[in-house]
């Protein structure tokens, strides 16, 4: 247990000395959010001056560690320092994302829990709107971010998640929306798109049949 003032850049960002660039980036963005001036998690614990100094040190840590040259020099300066003993263990570690194969890069995941494989639905091949939302949220992605990248109206993205099939445009557009959504979240398009589209088609037909008088 080291006082904050004595923690090195790695300890401050809560990463190991071997962390790669992606891990550093993720840890930095999490820390940045956690210690932001309006952060829900910290305002009632840290005094303002402590919070300010923490923020400055987080920035410095990131500046140094994200620059390979500066990081090497810094590592050299730490050489004399014993590596930190393994901590109690963090059962909820940030997931290492698999590199995406799709041409459109997925949005950088922020914080993904390592319980993907514990998901009750892991064995299920059905991708409904709620599952899409779960996948998105787990990756720390907001709908607005997907909208920005894909230029799809965020309202439609929300309708996708809420399965408001009647409020969505024609199937050919929806197919494109789902594909773009899945890519952004780093999901497997081949699994997601057909499954969702099947729900979409049957959902629409069922609803039209259920409403006599409506033109088909």
């Amino acid at each position: 247990m080291k006082p904050l003032a004595e923690q090195n850049h790695y300890e401050l960002l809560e990463i190991s000395r071997e962390a790669d660039a992606a891990e550093i980036e993720r840890a930095y963005r999490l820390a940045q959010g956690a210690y932001a001036s309006d952060s829900l998690a910290t305002y009632s614990v840290f005094a303002e001056e402590d919070a300010v100094s923490l923020r400055e040190r987080i920035e410095l840590a990131y500046d140094v560690l994200s620059d390979p040259e500066r990081r090497r020099a810094y590592d050299g300066s730490l050489a004399g320092e014993p590596a930190p003993p393994p901590s109690g263990g963090l059962a909820f570690e940030l997931e290492r994302e698999r590199p995406a194969r799709s041409p459109q890069k997925p949005l950088a995941p922020l914080a993904v829990a390592a319980f993907d494989d514990l998901e009750a639905e892991a064995g299920s091949s059905v991708y409904d709107g709620a599952r899409l939302r779960r996948a998105r949220m787990r990756r720390g992605i907001e709908l607005e971010q997907i909208a920005q990248v894909t230029k799809i109206n965020p309202t439609y993205l929300r309708f996708l998640e809420e399965e408001r099939f009647d409020d969505l445009p024609a199937a050919v557009y929806v197919r494109g929306f789902v594909g773009a959504y899945a890519r952004c979240c780093g999901l497997d398009l081949a699994a997601v798109v057909p499954s969702y589209m099947e729900r979409f088609e049957t959902g629409r037909i069922a609803r039209k049949r259920g409403r006599p008088g409506q033109p088909l």
Binding site: P3, L4, Y35, S39, S44, V45, G89, F92, M137
Partner: protein, 336 residues
């Protein structure tokens, strides 16, 4: 992974073939989970009811105990309208045998000790009574015992939390809830330290530290450690050891955005940076209208609607709890 799962199934399969051995294993000790969090209305009871139901659905024998004598409603969430016995009977010395207070719930494998009141004004059990209760709880023949704690930071609540094998802190993404979660954590932290440390001078120091405006300028637990070390190095070492064993689990409820999910990571980071403790971010449960409807229907959501969005999250947390070896293996792999 498969090996671990197989290991798990050995114990469960023993249950059907050699009952004496299985019950001997079981009698060894249930895993006791306590669910607190300081603020009322963040979903403690909802979480306990659903985790208990989810564990029971996985085939584990579960006892849920409502220790919230002032706001008992776990029985309602579990669909037991008017339990015929209550923890209040134990507190008031009307019944000494905890097993006699157990009532069935509509769910298989899930039993309940409710906290409905026979009369008004029954207070929290006194210290000795709490000890007795906890002893009985730790000997109860079940796979899991879940304690639904009341709101606030009453010593009784903190005692239950600390006596559990795992303490879950529930918070929702609101300033009031986060503040109360920290007060709860702080109270648990200092109480644990006071109990772990022996000398009177050090205990006095901790009592001072608990007063936020103390004269020694102890602001963080780390400051406190410094003070203790300079006062008594042996106690300082005990302090650190006790700290390392204290691992609260965080659950963020009522998540609506991915920003809300990050709250758990942020609170975990604060635990480490401010309290010096390794909290575990166990998981989150999203906001779901189906959850509210399940409360109105007085049935746990994971049972009435296992595919509902929130139920998926709840089931996921239950899987983590059901398989601690897996979780601890993950922890080892993820260790920094």
């Amino acid at each position: 992974m498969t090996a671990r799962r197989e290991g798990e199934s050995i114990i469960t399969s023993l249950g059907s073939t050699t009952p004496p051995l299985a019950s001997a294993l079981r009698a060894a000790r249930p895993r006791v989970l306590a669910c607190g969090g300081g603020k009322g209305g963040v979903g403690k009871t909802f979480l306990v009811a659903n985790l208990a139901a989810a564990l029971a659905r996985r085939g584990r024998s579960v006892l849920a105990i409502d220790v919230d004598l002032e706001g008992a409603n776990l029985h309602t969430c579990l669909g037991v309208p008017s339990p015929r016995s209550s923890l209040a009977d134990f507190v008031a010395h009307r019944e000494e045998d905890l097993a006699k207070l157990v009532v069935d719930t509509p769910l298989r494998n899930l039993k309940l000790i409710a906290a409905t009141q026979g009369h008004l004004g029954a207070a929290q059990p006194r210290h000795f009574r709490r000890e007795r209760l906890l002893q009985a709880v730790h000997r109860f023949p079940a796979d899991f015992v879940l304690l639904d704690l009341g709101a606030g930071t009453h010593p009784a609540v903190i005692d239950y939390f600390l006596a559990a094998d795992e303490g879950l802190i529930v918070l929702s993404p609101e300033p009031t809830s986060v503040e109360n979660a920290y007060s709860f954590l702080r109270a648990a932290f200092y109480r644990r330290m006071r109990e772990a440390l022996a000398t009177r001078a050090v205990r006095r120091l901790i009592a001072q530290a608990m007063d936020q405006r103390n004269e020694r300028g102890i602001r963080t637990p780390l400051d406190l450690l410094r003070e203790i070390q300079s006062l008594d190095p042996a106690e300082g070492a005990r302090f650190v050891a006790s700290l390392q064993q204290f691992r609260p689990r965080l659950v963020v409820n009522e998540v609506r955005t991915s920003e809300d999910i990050k709250l758990g990571f942020a609170v975990r980071s604060v635990c480490k940076k401010y309290f010096g403790i390794d909290a575990e971010y166990l998981g989150y449960v999203n906001h779901d209208e189906a959850a509210r409807r399940s409360m109105l229907a007085r049935r746990p959501l994971v049972d009435s609607q296992p595919t509902a969005d929130a139920a998926v999250y709840l089931t996921r947390i239950a899987s983590k709890l059901a398989d601690p070896r897996r979780a601890s293996a993950e922890a080892r792999e993820g260790a920094l």
